[in-house]
């Protein structure tokens, strides 16, 4: 067996998310079916993490153990998979990885981008690719909230429970570190970037949703501050739509 690490980009709009499911039509199902066509046997792939339906990736990572008998190197895998994959999924890079490397457990962090279009009419080329937010947003407040997110916090109020959490839930279960959270504006497009040690389920969309609510004046930044400091109490819960979310990259230690 040889373990390879693949990075792939996808347009999330036509797919029901990353994770394989009954009925298929997920990115994982599609990629695994291409491996099966090439190898003439099923192969399981292991991603750095899931993305929800409609969420995009510029560099999602996954690893797979391929049989030596395939006699294919990294370049051959990239070419073969891209020949079978639809245009909405592309393998962007392939490299050989050590046998103990794991796309999920070896990751040291992730970076996401969230795109918000603030103009009155959403240009057709942004449909499904940005959140069309018609509310007037106060950008200094948006920046102030992003600063609150940076650091290590209990993000329990900024996540959706999957229902598969351990019982009892460990004390540090919802703790994550946000290394940076920035805003850039270009015309009517706002781009929020989050780099962190890891993210809870729907966390980026919840962080964006709360920040936008504060920038629109629906809640105050101090509501968010309180939610970050208290494990009890209410959540400023509002989940931004998947359309604007992009997994930009997964951070790993350099692989020899």
């Amino acid at each position: 067996m040889s373990r390879f690490l693949f990075s792939c980009a996808y347009d999330g709009a036509p797919w029901l998310g990353w994770q394989s499911q009954v009925g298929g039509n997920t990115v994982q199902d599609c990629i695994e079916s291409c491996f099966a066509r090439i190898l003439h046997e099923p192969l399981r792939i292991h991603a750095a993490g899931r993305t929800d339906a409609g969420v995009h990736a510029l560099a999602q990572y996954f690893h797979a153990d391929v049989p030596e008998s395939s006699r294919m190197d990294a370049a051959a895998w990239q070419a073969a998979l891209n020949a079978y994959l639809p245009a909405s999924i592309r393998i962007m890079s392939v490299q050989l990885a050590p046998p103990d490397f794991h796309a999920r457990f070896s990751a040291t962090g992730k970076e996401y981008e969230y795109r918000i279009f603030c103009g009155s009419v959403l240009p057709p080329h942004l449909a499904g690719r940005a959140w069309h937010c018609r509310r007037k947003l106060h950008l200094p407040t948006l920046r102030r909230v992003l600063k609150l997110y940076v650091g290590e916090h209990d993000f329990r109020h900024f996540a959706v429970r999957r229902g598969n959490e351990p019982n009892p839930i460990p004390l540090n279960f919802f703790f994550r570190i946000i290394f940076s959270a920035t805003l850039t504006c270009r015309g009517e497009m706002l781009t929020l970037r989050f780099c962190g040690s890891g993210f809870l389920y729907r966390m980026v969309r919840m962080l964006v949703g709360a920040a936008v609510q504060a920038a629109a004046g629906t809640i105050s930044p101090s509501d968010i501050d309180v939610a970050l400091r208290q494990s009890h109490g209410a959540s400023p819960c509002f989940c931004a739509p998947p359309d604007g979310l992009y997994l930009l990259r997964v951070l790993y230690e350099p692989i020899d």
Copy 2:
């Protein structure tokens, strides 16, 4: 009757071009069906020009005469049409126009953009939105060819015949003026812009195709120079795919 001038943007990928046709599924058919739903009667719209299947528009223009009985102003028309149109077509602006204004005959020029992606793997978000050209292109040659295009020329060798040309064809029938033809590079994306008095059928795609052939070394710039100067002889005919073509804007004299 009130004449309104509309600008619209569309993603060309899901549509069989602008022009209405039996079987529908064109941008014009879609917009006219929205007018019919709002007015409860059919209405014909008149565009600045056609775009082919797969070709995009950031600002296509069309005019329409709407009955006074609709009692709708420009803002109401924009809101109503966008409420009925799919996300791949958006009305970007509406204004009242004089009764003798014509979206096609009042136009003084048009601007197009053509996007070429030169990287080895086309990112999924550019699928259908750029020409993926894997050939190594010599950019100084590309720029040299673009300079040849500028000015007034007989572009008969850079057009596809529709079959509905007058017989005999007038001497100046294929003459057009290119005001500017420029190239900008950003990473692996090349953007060619053409501004001109008007364009023959498939002309922009033929100009791009010939320029790329020269930049790839398949033909020489002097072949193109000759084709621009002679009404007889061969055409360096190669039509670039529709995916990369965007109608940027239509030029009009200011409307009071």
